[in-house]
Amino acid sequence: MGYTITEKILMAHTDLKEIAPGRLINARVDIALGNDITAPIAIREFRAAGGKKVFDRDRVALVLDHFTPNKDIDSAQQCKTVREFAFEHGVTHFYEGGQVGVEHALLPEKGIVLPGDLVIGADSHTCTYGALGAFATGVGSTDLAAAMLTGELWFKVPPSIKFVIYGKLQKWVSGKDLILHIIGRIGVDGALYSAMEFTGETIRALPMADRLSMANMAIEAGAKNGIFPPDEITGEYVKPRAKRPYTFYTSDPDAVYAQTIEIDASQLELQVAFPHLPSNVRGISQAGGVKIDQSLIGSCTNGRIEDLRVAAGILKGRKAAPHVRLIVVPATPLIYRQALKEGLLEIFMDAGAVISPPSCGACLGGHLGILAEGEKSVATTNRNFVGRMGHPKSEVYLAGPAVAAASAVLGRIASPEEL
């Protein structure tokens, strides 16, 4: 009996000779990640357990990206806690200030996470790295503490759901639209406890930025991880970035899947998730007309240079509607610099945008773009729960960068084809 890519990576991080879904295993962790919100609890637990030394200073990543630049005194205290811990333990991958980016954009960009890795992060969107053919999953702070201490963690081997996606994507349609469509189809618990494995001709042709957007939102279907078979596109992305060896794993032809779902993507239109669940998805033809107060382009889902290029292509020579606050958040310093070099930032500023420093702040309702009562925002982020971006009576509409940019100009949820 063959194994899926997820099963192979998990098994390779144990001494086991066989593995099966449902089995509880203890596995070695390649990278353990925390941020300014989740790491303080992990550090407290680490110290309470008598932790004196992290298991490997090169394999812990601490990224101060959520409530930074520090939004208030309490946030500054939390960052201070993590910074002191990072220095005390000589943590190699510690990022803040002008070096910090949104963690799930930053770690792949710097080659810290690689194909075949087992990555845990005290942040639910850690599943992003599955785009590289890694097993990556979000955990809690206590899990992070355990991993930082021992270099291992317990896992239940997940069953895998295989998505076979075929057909050429229409103009403007991106990985974000594909994943929104999938979540709309299977629901926010449609892949609960499972691995989502994305395959098929559409996937083979899909650029890395789109794969990262898709894997990022696997958690929004309840999945343990989302994963892409590594291929030439993976190799091109990883090769110039990696500073240690990595392994391409692929599923065996006779691997066992709990379910196989085929999707014809050729007719897929731009997608929008209405409040208050990422599964509340409509095609753009059924989504128009909602007047918006804000458009947010950024986040670990869609804050990469490719996303900014799409948005800038639409915003060039145009202006955001007078009642719309347009906020652009380049996800990392490198993306920011690249956008500057390519003239994208000027296009955004000419369109009336605020350009934010790299931060998760606005996406989770921390700071740098909070909504008031009754306000509506279209956002290229990943969650539209009640109160996610501010007041409990505000609303978030999830979409890709093309819809976010077009909506900013027209002042309502719109397709770029309407411009």
Partner: protein
């Protein structure tokens, strides 16, 4: 473990932003987090609940963000346990790792109203409801999870090894 308490009912897909909104995550102090427990699902909850009360949820309880602040807020508010039809996976492991008792019961939520008084017996794997002549079963807890609870959470489990 026998837990008795009054029920607070919540629906499906109660996400961790509803359990503890991100605007309060500039602290990890349990007492401060407890003050905002369930704030965006029911703002009156925290002023009306009493220590020992039980939260009963629907499907996919605790979905969304991995923030351990969510089970911390629930535990620090004095909630004795959470019973739901199903749990999101990160919330599930967080609860066992940090010591908030949680139980899965497919039928309980639909059979009772808010304010019901229930008694949960984890050894028997059953729940009884005051004034209701019916027993509800709890999904068995995997042995590893039982060990985690017995050891007092993940960090103590590791320390014991």
């Amino acid at each position: 473990m026998i837990l008795k308490g009054r029920v607070w009912k919540f629906g499906d897909n109660i996400d961790t932003d509803a359990i503890i909104p991100a605007r309060h995550l500039n602290t990890s102090d349990p007492a401060q987090l407890a003050r905002h427990c369930m704030e965006d699902a029911d703002p009156a909850f925290i002023t009306r609940m009493k220590p020992g009360d039980i939260i009963v949820g629907g499907e996919n309880f605790g979905c969304g963000s991995s923030r351990e602040h969510a089970p911390i807020a629930i535990k620090a508010a004095g909630i004795s346990c959470v019973v739901a039809k199903s749990f999101a996976r990160i919330f599930y492991r967080n609860a066992f790792n940090m010591g908030l008792p949680i139980f899965e019961s497919r039928d309980l939520a639909d059979a009772i109203a808010e304010g019901a008084r229930i008694s949960l017996d984890s050894a028997q794997g059953s729940i009884t409801v005051e004034g209701l002549d019916r027993k509800f079963s709890i999904s068995p807890i995997p042995p590893f999870m039982e060990q985690l609870i017995a050891d007092g959470g993940l960090m103590k489990h590791i320390a014991g090894k």
